[in-house]
Symmetry: C2
Subunit: 242 residues, 2 copies
Amino acid sequence: MVKSYSQIKQPTLTMTQEEKQTGQIILEAARKVFQKSGLGGARMQQIADEAGINKASLHYYYRSKDKLFQAVFQEDFRRFMIPLSGILFRETELTVEERITTFVRSFLRTLIENPHLPLFVIHELTRNPDRLLDMVQGRSVHMEEGDGLDYGKREPNLFLRQIRDGIEKGKYHKVIPEQFVISIIGMCVYPSIARPIIRHWLRKDDDQYNEFLEERQSEVIDYAFRILIKDYKPYEHQFNEF
Amino acid sequence: MVKSYSQIKQPTLTMTQEEKQTGQIILEAARKVFQKSGLGGARMQQIADEAGINKASLHYYYRSKDKLFQAVFQEDFRRFMIPLSGILFRETELTVEERITTFVRSFLRTLIENPHLPLFVIHELTRNPDRLLDMVQGRSVHMEEGDGLDYGKREPNLFLRQIRDGIEKGKYHKVIPEQFVISIIGMCVYPSIARPIIRHWLRKDDDQYNEFLEERQSEVIDYAFRILIKDYKPYEHQFNEF
DNA sequence: AAATAATTTAACCAAATGGTCAAATTTTTC
DNA sequence: GAAAAATTTGACCATTTGGTTAAATTATTT
């Protein structure tokens, strides 16, 4: 017996092992195509081919192109934001220096391992800023318990407050904390986003460019400390854990 | 008498005053739509509506969507690159400090005045990196004499060499010049590219965000100097010209 | 002002796209 | 192992898309 389309038990809600696999294959294929071509440029047929299945099966697992996109985007958005919310702004006992060191390392690692991530996330977020609200508050069927995004408490944000404290105590230079934070993130993200331009300028191939990004870790940490810390002596962050 | 399509004298090659105007109107409409939706997402009908003309006229002035896109992209690419090639890398008599100060100011100004510029350029360049070659060497019918792009001489690039000299003389900290340059650019570009995310984080409206970018000018210059210069005293760049 | 060239327009067109559906096939249940 | 449920598939559809064309309109030339 064949059920009409709308009566089909939703596979995303009742995945057995095999179903989960197929759903996962589709998701990865979709990620590849969406990251390369964006929501508008991606073709359902292309995703089906990439996944090695029939186009109709895409709609069986994910009702529409947009639903499929949402599933992909939500994961990528979280992956992009985890170092931010998890290290930079979470209310843990970390010092400013530890936050910066750990953040830069883990963020640049994420970017090396996911070269298309930031441009994809930022581009789609710019195209449709409403997604931000969906991401930050909303919890979709594809997210698990505790996956809610969280920049950390706002106002007063602990990290920003730590920086202000250090400035008041004369330990740090007089920076504008928000500008300083954006600068660190920008120093990390930009070379990933502008990869083709910079690669062209420096005449590097893909592997050489990844080395350039590896080398960048300690460089950016140095820069950040030099901007912030008054009596900074280079390389001391290399003796940290991690 | 009506000429067949291919026999029509190409308007882009023989623009009278009125033609130039119409062509310009189309170009501006196309820029708006392309910047908002990208090459794939933009619709010719949407551009025609925006320009207030018939869709067929678009093809009369620019043979195809891709030709129109190229005309738009070429201009935007150049606008994006001018501060880089014109200030940072041009072989003029500027000091490192002057280059940095002037570059950051003019670059951030460009970004404030053209909010969609960098994401548009970088996104389309990532989608189709071959355009880079077209841009750098090629000279299209839409570019005028002397418009050829030029990063400046490569290897040895004067700016990089100036930094290396300063390091050798003990005047500058021991940075990797390429990484340092990318960092300055990243500190400028990132807040423009990630506008929706940062706006959301800082809870700023459009005007407030532009103020944030204005305020950023001296902040980034401070950061750059603090990273580079050993005995840097803040605010001295404010006494420069410009 | 007639002839000619340039521009604008409405009506079309072929191809591509997201999506649907009923039938066929495979897997699970009893 | 038969019945039921879940999955996969090829064929199909309505809409949208970039692009074309011939006729109508406007500018220019002589």
